[in-house]
Symmetry: C2
Subunit: 657 residues, 2 copies
């Protein structure tokens, strides 16, 4: 019989589980200790009382741990929910179990029977007794529970019908019977699903990027790893936790690019760190001018001592001088004449880079080699990788690589540097990148920013895409920062640092470096192609940035990814929003930003008092965490004035006395 191929016909329907990514195809991302809400539609035919629970188990090699569980409760319209916190990072397998509960159905029916005109309850009581008897059998591993159930059974047998509901009223009693419910006909959701739970840094981080070779700020002197510690200390002082280095590997000589990306390098030109590979080595080596591997390892240790993680760039680019070219020509694309193809985007040619053929015949060996490169640096103490242009390599490669790394070195973080079309950026988040660059860099107007932040935090992206907001990068000096002064830089930094739980800046930002390559969104004399003269000890807007990061550290409201709501403001130049914390109810912050770097802007803002936990007419204090002033407010409508020359931003902490 075909029916017997399905030996267990499900008794309960479990569907529409949330939050899932593509129906569970990809793991849902959350942070350790974060409040997680799981929901599902759970229902069955007829009038049985349903019970349901959510179960989770860490997927770990040789892990002997069993399932953890928490009961789910009905919310509305057959929707059930539970809230929990995953206490440890890891990949969790999850499932939902639901069943028609014999005891609950019986007692519920019994209570309703008492409201009718039934007189003889003997059979109904006997049914209850049998249910208890069977519970006691299932409880056999707990003598205490068996005893309690047997006691109930005895009381049930001699009770007056009207007194029976009372027998089962206590939550202890209900818990005992729930623990030993008959799950032999329970239904499990059809497809298991997973949560990827990561440490807090995965969602709450402040990044700082600089080129080690310019660590001393000398135009004519190549700096080394040994010069980098003062820069790390500066970054730490400004409140950053992660310092990201562009590639540190040997730089190719063949077709090396000159200053400002010119085609022919001069003799002293240092080349682009992204043209990786020379005689001195490839992706496992360091550029000799920076020092050696020992120097690098020491720097990682020194950095960690002061609370800084060093993130490496993982750029799968090979210069024509990369050892792979000689050792594995089959990993590259070849022209009919047998030469290796350089990168092209016709009619543009990039002769300094040979792209890799990820689907070449020897792809398995190639993929394993690249995995091994990542693990090599993991072995040197690196836990965080910024991945260069992941969208130019196969998505399936990244899914495979990240999963493998997570198996060997759980908690390794990958930041996706994909500035490309939305579906690709989203997919890279789904398949495992920890964080992703975003379009924030170009979102300027109030409308654009609100729309984008809501897309990131209110929709499905919230479950797989962790935004990292960068106002600039070595590749991007956006038009709105070009030739601008401190106000513009403060505004964009404040937006990045308070709209998103992760943000980052490329060095020079703190000095408001703003001279563009004429007509392009790029830096003039870009560090990508030359050593940079820079007075690292200048002040610039360091105090402002420092304060931003301090406030982020002090207030839980800035540390919970999706806890942001925009506030109505009358001026189109004034952006207002509030943030809150699920773990610290005292951390309630209203941010107001003047988007106009040139003129003072005033606006009324209209607070959602109820959401802020403030009663109608109640007085409350707001204290500017950037500048110290306090104001007493009472109504939902309040006035703010934001002067780009003095205070373009207010970060207002709400306190109710």
């Amino acid at each position: 019989m075909a029916i017997s191929e399905n030996p267990f016909a499900p008794t309960v329907v479990i569907s529409n589980i949330s939050p899932l990514v593509e129906g569970g195809r990809f793991a849902t991302k959350r942070i350790e200790g974060e409040l997680v809400r799981v929901e599902a539609d759970i229902f069955k035919d007829g009038h049985d009382e349903i019970r349901a629970k959510f179960l989770w188990k860490k997927i770990e090699k040789g892990s002997p741990l069993g399932w953890s569980e928490t009961p789910m409760s009905p919310v509305d319209n057959d929707r059930w929910a539970t809230e929990l916190r995953f206490e440890e990072p890891g990949l969790y397998e999850c499932k939902i179990l639901a069943w028609a509960d014999a005891f609950s159905t019986w007692i519920h029916d019994f209570e309703r029977r008492l409201t009718g005109d039934q007189e003889d309850f003997a059979t109904d009581i006997e049914e209850g007794r049998i249910i208890l008897e069977q519970s006691a059998e299932r409880a056999s591993s707990s003598r205490k529970d068996v005893k309690a159930i047997k006691e109930l059974e005895k009381e049930l047998s001699k009770a007056d019908p009207d007194d029976i509901p009372e027998l089962f009223e206590s939550s202890d009693t209900r818990d005992i019977l729930y623990r030993h419910a008959d799950l032999s006909q329970a239904t499990e959701n059809e497809e298991p699903f997973r949560f990827m739970v990561e440490e807090k840094l995965a969602a709450f981080s402040a990044w700082y990027e600089f080129f080690p070779r310019s660590a001393k700020g000398k135009e004519n002197e190549h700096s080394t790893f040994r010069d980098c510690l003062p820069r790390l200390e500066d970054a730490k002082k400004m409140g950053f936790d992660i310092v990201y280095f562009p590639p540190i590997h040997p730089i190719g000589h063949t077709a090396r690019k000159g200053k400002n990306n010119t085609l022919t390098a001069k003799k002293d030109d240092v080349g682009s760190p992204w043209a990786i590979g020379a005689k001195s080595g490839g992706h496992r080596s360091v550029e000799p001018l920076l020092g050696d591997l020992d120097d690098f390892e020491q720097l990682v240790i020194d950095a960690r001592d002061i609370g800084i993680e060093i993130a490496l760039d993982f750029a799968i680019n090979c210069s024509p001088d990369h050892p792979y070219v000689k050792d594995h020509p089959e990993w590259f694309f070849q022209r009919p004449d047998g030469t290796i193809k350089y990168a092209e985007n016709p009619p543009k040619k990039y002769q300094d880079i040979y792209p890799i053929n990820f689907h070449c015949e020897g792809w398995e060996e190639l993929w394993e080699e690249l995995l091994d490169v990542v693990l090599f640096w993991v072995g040197k103490g690196v836990r965080i990788f910024r991945v260069d242009n992941p969208h130019t390599k196969p998505v399936s490669f990244w899914e495979w690589l990240i999963a493998r790394v997570q198996e060997v070195a759980p908690g390794t973080m990958f930041l996706s540097e994909a500035f490309t079309r939305p579906r690709m950026m989203e997919m890279l988040g789904k398949i495992g990148f920890t964080q992703s660059y975003t379009y924030f860099t170009w979102r300027q107007t109030k409308e654009e920013i609100i729309e984008y932040v809501e897309e990131l935090t209110k929709g499905e992206m919230r479950n797989y895409y962790r935004a990292n907001f960068w106002p600039n990068t070595p590749d991007i000096l956006p038009y709105h920062l070009q030739n601008k002064g401190p106000a513009a830089f403060k505004i964009r930094a404040a937006l990045a640092a308070t709209l998103s739980t992760s943000w980052g800046m490329y060095s020079g930002y703190e000095f408001c470096e703003s001279e563009p390559l004429e007509g392009r969104e790029e830096y003039l004399d870009s560090e990508k192609f030359q050593l940079k003269e820079r007075d690292w000890n200048a002040t610039g807007i360091k105090p402002f940035i420092t304060r931003l990061n301090q406030v982020r550290q002090a207030e839980a409201a800035f540390q919970e990814y999706a806890n942001i709501e925009f506030i109505d403001s009358d001026s189109n130049q004034v952006l207002a929003y509030y943030r809150w914390s699920d773990s610290d109810p005292e951390s309630r912050i209203i941010v107001t930003v003047n988007l106009d770097a040139n003129y003072k802007q005033d606006s009324h803002i209209h607070l959602p008092l109820e959401k802020l936990g403030i009663e109608e007419g109640q007085e409350f204090q707001v204290t500017d965490l950037l500048y110290g002033e306090s104001y007493l407010w009472r109504d939902s409508t309040n006035f703010v004035s934001l002067d780009p020359r003095t205070k373009p931003v207010h970060i207002l902490k709400v306190t109710v006395s």
Copy 2:
């Protein structure tokens, strides 16, 4: 190597396919010949040109047919789409195939190369030649194509670079190369998905329900199948295609209900047809007072002769006298004393019905028996079943049963009579019910109706839930029809018949029978419990209903499920909407309904001229298909006047001269 466990690393990402039901867990419903649009996100790393196609194959035992296919095209933002029509009913397995296309990438790059300063194209031309050579190898089954490709290869070798794009411009050439593309690294979507394609009747149908035992309309004389033909002819004359009979099986005697659902039946009381089973048989037998199986079979034949399908009620209810009770007591719930449980919803008891235990120990035999009952009636010529209270039986049972029936008797239709909570009603649609009853019966106000119809036709339900709108049933005489006259009945019939492609009515509606059981939404002297005295030859609102069904038959706009949009109207009592057809552009209909059965209502309505295919300022004619009048309209804003005593509804066909 773990990597080799995944022998084919996908090159292209295919995701977010639509229209799927729960990500493909359930088949998407469509109708033969209907225009179907399939979409997916399709993209890959880098700059390769992508090609994609949609493939489908009927799932049929021993079917030797291969895949059919149609190319997909990019729409926007990595979204690809195709449109097709499944020409035959059946369950179709579907997939999407996408690949980086070597030829398309090469020619696209070549065209861009010509815009730069490249001078030597020899290597690039040679690359193109190799691509053609490989195409020719793959084309070996078509000598014509091989010849054409070889010819191209020759021309390519001697052409001036600037002339090369022209060589490949013709769509014939492109088609040949597309046909023989290299699919060795093509990607298939991860999970196959299915379309359930049904005959037109599955989505476009008009149902009429009557009790055969009252076919002659005599209160004191039980009618038989032989009395039913005039009723079928009446239904046909009114334009109905399906006549549904309440259960025709022997009715139980034990605990039989009396008139108006009273607990004790009098000697002559005929009982409820839903209390199935007596000495004379169970679900495979007919009530002796109606005739015998031969009579029934003859009636099915006679009905089909006049274009009527007879739908049977499949009610899995057993009276205490049902043969199952004696033969299979293990299929029922038993009390501790060994007696069989009657149905209960405490404190209410239904002693005339024994519910079945679908998860009893002998469930496989039980399920097979119930399947066999359906197939028994299929064998007697029945193709359509109205299923009584499916939500009180396990969803998994229905999913299994319907799939099995469809294997043996493809095209069998099941109408779900679940008036219950939304998730259960939706799920029954997902798991295979062809059509479903709806909340329409209680949706009254303009706002309620618009919200509900949009939910059914604009959202995901459109893919699995086929609404059937009934203004009344033997169980439900809604308050808004109680003690009302023809206007109310016309209005609700017109709404049902024109808002939904399937509608139905329970007999007596055409005579505006409206006397309720005091204080309840039920009929007084319900036919469920007694023979009904009725003058079947009275006129009532038959002409109006007939006209409604004629208009539905004549206009394709009423036959395409989701082709409905609401139109703004100024009055809250005037509901306006338009319908159109994807297959007949001339069928454009505006419906306006006065929701108020008591007073004339006037309103301006505001037509979306562009959607109606009418240019600004263009004159167009609207002709009332119910009453014949024509009007010349020009603007988007037009006036309608709807008098419940004369014309509560306009069905206006738009024609542009």
